[in-house]
């Protein structure tokens, strides 16, 4: 695996050997890819019942949220005053949550980016997910993100790098 610059100061992303692109780029590709989204939501139709959504409406809301995330990343890159620490905030001892006051709120907010915090304002993205359940343990695809986190942490530790013992989640 390797670590790649993003276009945002202090924000980096892992790139896994089996993937063509780094995690941040791959996730944004997937979240804007109708083929990926249709397959994903069709496989998780039962979870959508909880939200009262069809596959079509879930995709529409996800695209809307992904569009807001695109704009958010551009805002962060252009911002002279906003730091990553202000965007990533702790939810509990396992997850950090980003709280952004924006003029346009997404109706649906289930896109997640996961990151390890190296130092204040230095984060490295380990992965992300469309989170349809309350906890990550409830579904295979989100459980897998926890495995990826641990793998990344072990890699960093093998290189003598220690994180701030926190797992961070970006949420708009």
């Amino acid at each position: 695996m390797k670590i790649v610059h993003t276009f945002i100061t202090g924000l980096y992303s892992f790139k896994y050997d089996e993937q063509e692109t780094n995690e941040l780029e791959r996730l944004f590709d997937d979240w804007n890819d109708f083929e990926f989204l249709e397959e994903f939501f069709d496989n998780h139709k039962n979870d959508l019942k909880y939200f009262g959504l069809t596959v079509e409406s879930a995709i529409e809301e996800t695209i809307n949220e992904a569009n807001l995330l695109d704009k958010l990343l551009l805002d962060i890159a252009e911002s002279n005053f906003q730091t990553l620490d202000a965007i990533f905030k702790p939810l509990n001892n396992l997850e950090f949550r980003a709280v952004i006051l924006s003029k346009q709120k997404a109706r649906r907010r289930w896109l997640r980016l996961y990151a390890i915090k190296i130092e204040p304002n230095y984060y490295v993205i380990t992965g992300g997910a469309i989170k349809l359940t309350h906890t990550m343990q409830e579904r295979e695809h989100t459980k897998n993100e926890l495995l990826k986190l641990e793998k990344c942490r072990q890699y960093l530790q093998s290189e003598g790098i220690f994180d701030l013992d926190s797992f961070n989640e970006l949420d708009i």
């Binding site: 670590i3 780029e25 995709i59 695109d70």
Partner: protein, 108 residues
Amino acid sequence: MEKSKNLEKFLGLVSDEKSGLLEKIQWRQANEAWRERSGKIALKILRKLRDNKSKDQFPSSQKELATLLKISPQQVNKIVKGSENLTIETICKIENVLNIHVFEYEMV
């Protein structure tokens, strides 16, 4: 401010490889209007193919659709990802072979 040794070690590990994310975001933002419509078409195609598959009807895959449209499977794949700026001709062909309505037409 001086960086900590931990951070310096981390930064030393970062590869020279560049991410294409910024260019992709800028492209998406610049082409937002037609992408929205292209995405709706992509979704209609995907749902129709899935429905056909469940009923054992033709076409039920991107490969079969490509054959009917006389284009490559790679081109069909671009269309169903929602990132293709489709011609009206292609839209009409899709409507005909899949027996779906992509747009609502208004008589003027």
